[in-house]
């Protein structure tokens, strides 16, 4: 929670400044303002059917989450304030957490756009791993796939050129630490990591002023992105001493990323690659693969997509996500029906060992305001030598959620 308290201070200071400037502007020009408020209430139940590996861990995790969303738009939508909040209650105290996912002011004019505040940015093209996506910290207690992110304080300036694509400049004044499951939580290491135990390489700690740049363009069937990040990394670096003790900290990194997609007929060819450089670490990682969709195969809209990706990480065993030399395969079924029913099944297999992770994600809308989801992750034949994954080998789970939208 300490992390969040610091975050609130940041938000208050920032928006007091912003609102002073903005109120005067609003007085000058009376414009039509649109307000929208929405909210999602979610009931979740996670069940881990294998006996826990570490003391304190439970089998059943009922949980509740709320996601309020407010936006205010004026100047024909070219100016807005957007807010998305988040709160979850869970049996695991560390998974009981709140966050401001987004709270930012945005202004667009002609070829440029400016965003100030907490925001979420996504970069990349692949499905099984998100290497180049480096701006936001992962909300690691929220989901296993790492796609939930914490709101990142930033100033983002985008510039659209006629012939040279789009340039994005990021100023990132504050680093947010990753959250980890507590004593009662599953999907954790043998030693419970408290996020406050992790220090920083930089003397400025979380206030190190970081920067990032991205260029994105498309030429016919090619979509290409090049990015560079310089600052405190989002991924902590784990160093194990000879006694097996873990020393973990957030290093200052340079990361250059490339993402490329070629969209040719029903084929999507994808590549993501990064080169990360820090004092204690220097490595390359790659994800490459393809997606092919057989569309409307039954004449009723059923699409079947096939996915295959290869994952490589030079860090080998120390790769935090354990995807060092693996193959991902999967299939996406989209029914394109009134309820938007979809199913994604997949598996990741380690090419050097027997370790495999299987997954299933399915969702369907009921009526116009309800949505149900099922997720399953199965850790299969995880080898003892897996530094990271061996901690999760008893953590196969089923997850059900029902959401009501207001």
């Amino acid at each position: 929670m300490t992390n969040n308290n610091r975050l609130s201070v940041w938000v208050v200071v920032f928006f007091t400044g912003l609102s002073l400037g903005w109120t005067q502007d609003a007085k000058r020009e009376k414009r039509k303002v649109n307000h929208e408020f929405e909210m999602e209430l979610e009931a979740e139940y996670r069940y881990f059917w294998d006996d826990a590996q570490f003391p304190g861990q439970e089998d059943h995790y009922p949980s509740l989450a709320i996601r309020p969303d407010y936006s205010m738009e004026w100047n024909d939508g070219y100016e807005s304030i957007n807010f998305t909040g988040f709160f979850r209650w869970d049996r695991d105290d560390e998974r009981t957490h709140w966050d401001i996912r987004e709270l930012y002011y945005q202004k667009a004019k002609g070829k440029w756009e400016l965003s100030l505040g907490l925001k979420k940015i996504y970069w990349g093209v692949t499905e099984s791993n998100h290497l180049v996506d480096v701006i936001n910290q992962t909300d690691a207690v929220e989901t296993f796939d790492g796609e939930e992110k914490l709101g990142q304080p930033m100033a983002q300036f985008s510039y659209i050129t006629d012939k040279w694509g789009t340039f994005d400049f990021f100023y990132l004044p504050y680093h947010r630490k990753r959250t980890f499951p507590g004593d009662e939580g599953r999907l954790r290491f043998g030693t419970v990591i408290n996020q406050d135990d992790l220090g920083y390489e930089s003397g400025a700690e979380e206030w190190r002023q970081d920067v990032a740049l991205r260029w994105k363009h498309y030429f016919g069937i090619f979509d290409i992105g090049l990015s560079h990040f310089y600052g405190t990394g989002r991924e902590p670096l784990f160093v194990f001493d000879t006694f097996g003790n873990i020393n973990a900290f957030y290093p200052v990194i340079h990361q250059t990323g490339l993402d490329l997609q070629i969209t040719h007929d029903a084929f999507l060819w994808k590549l993501e690659s990064i080169y990360r450089n820090a004092d204690a670490q220097d490595f390359v990682a790659v994800v490459a693969g393809l997606e092919y969709t057989f569309s409307n195969i039954d004449g009723n809209g059923l699409d079947i997509g096939l996915l295959g990706e290869y994952l490589y990480d030079e860090r080998d065993d120390l790769s935090l996500n354990a995807l060092q030399n693996d193959v991902f395969f999967g299939s996406r079924l989209a029914f394109n029906d009134v309820q938007d029913t979809s199913i994604l099944i997949g598996g990741i297999a380690d090419l050097e060992s027997s370790s495999k992770i299987f997954s299933l994600e399915a969702s369907r809308r009921f009526g116009s305001n309800w949505r149900a989801e099922v997720e399953a992750r199965i850790f299969s034949s995880i080898e003892d030598t897996e530094l990271i994954l061996s901690n999760f080998r008893q953590d196969s789970f089923l997850r059900f959620t029902i959401s009501r939208f207001f």
Binding site: D265, V338, S368, N369, F405
Partner: protein, 251 residues
């Protein structure tokens, strides 16, 4: 007089194919110069038992003359997909370019425009029914004329289309606006009928139907589109049809 006589002869000598193409071009020309538009629409899906469900969308269109139009569609409801948006660059020749924005993870994904015949969000409209209607996308054959109504057969050039042909009724007296389209499936059986109603004339030139009704004769399902007033005054530019704008529209 001589010129008029010459034109008259030319029309007389026209084949059904040439006349069909000429009508399609006349319809395109009649709608030229709208610049850009913004419209909100309500889509009502009705199954064969009469049960309905609704979607609300906003569509922005930018007219381009050298290549096909650009469009940006944003979902306002159902609420679980609110903010989902697509950006499409239509091309007169070749596959369209299309990007999808997923608001939950803020991701923009380039998607294949290969899936033309599939249903758009569970409706009776296929993707190809809603994309910009460029003259180059069909081969034409004039069928008949009944007063102001001109009936033309259109055969899709793209083999991935879900139709063998469409039979389109234009209204010559009302700026070549569309009155009806009949869609024939790959087996050449009548699949769907789209009728355009509640026409409104904008800027004394541009006809816009405020109601579309698509009936599927094979499944007995129906989709109704009800449009709000069109806004032709927003003066949208190329920048409003970029990935940056796509993300902004869906946020």
């Amino acid at each position: 007089m001589l010129a008029a006589a010459f034109v008259g002869t030319a029309v007389y000598a026209q084949s059904a194919e040439e006349k069909g193409l000429q009508i399609a071009k006349a319809a395109e020309k009649a709608d030229e110069g709208f610049g850009s538009s913004i419209v909100e629409l309500k889509m009502t899906l009705k199954n064969k038992n009469g049960q309905t469900s609704e979607r609300f969308l906003t569509t922005r269109t930018l007219e381009l003359t050298e290549d096909g139009d650009k469009s940006l569609i944003v979902f306002e409801s159902p609420k679980d997909v609110k903010g989902t948006a697509t950006l499409t660059y239509t091309h007169k020749v070749g596959a369209d370019d299309q990007w999808l924005y997923l608001p939950s993870i803020k991701r923009v994904k380039r998607i294949s425009s290969n899936n033309k015949s599939g249903p758009f969000v569970g409706s009776e409209f296929a993707y190809e029914d809603l994309s910009s209607q460029e003259v180059e996308k069909y081969a034409y054959k004039f069928l008949k004329e009944e007063g102001d109504l001109l009936v033309v057969e259109q055969d899709p050039v793209d083999p991935k289309s879900g139709y063998t042909r469409r039979v389109v009724t234009y209204n010559k007296g009302k700026g070549y606006r569309l009155e009806k389209i009949e869609f024939y499936d790959r087996k050449n059986a009548l699949l769907k009928t789209l009728t355009y109603n509640d026409y409104k004339l904008y800027k004394n030139k541009f006809w816009r139907a405020l109601t579309f009704n698509m009936v599927n004769h094979q499944s007995n399902k129906e989709t109704l589109l009800k449009f709000s007033d069109y806004n032709f005054g927003a003066e949208l530019a190329e920048e409003d049809f970029t990935e940056v704008a796509l993300k902004r529209a869906g946020s």
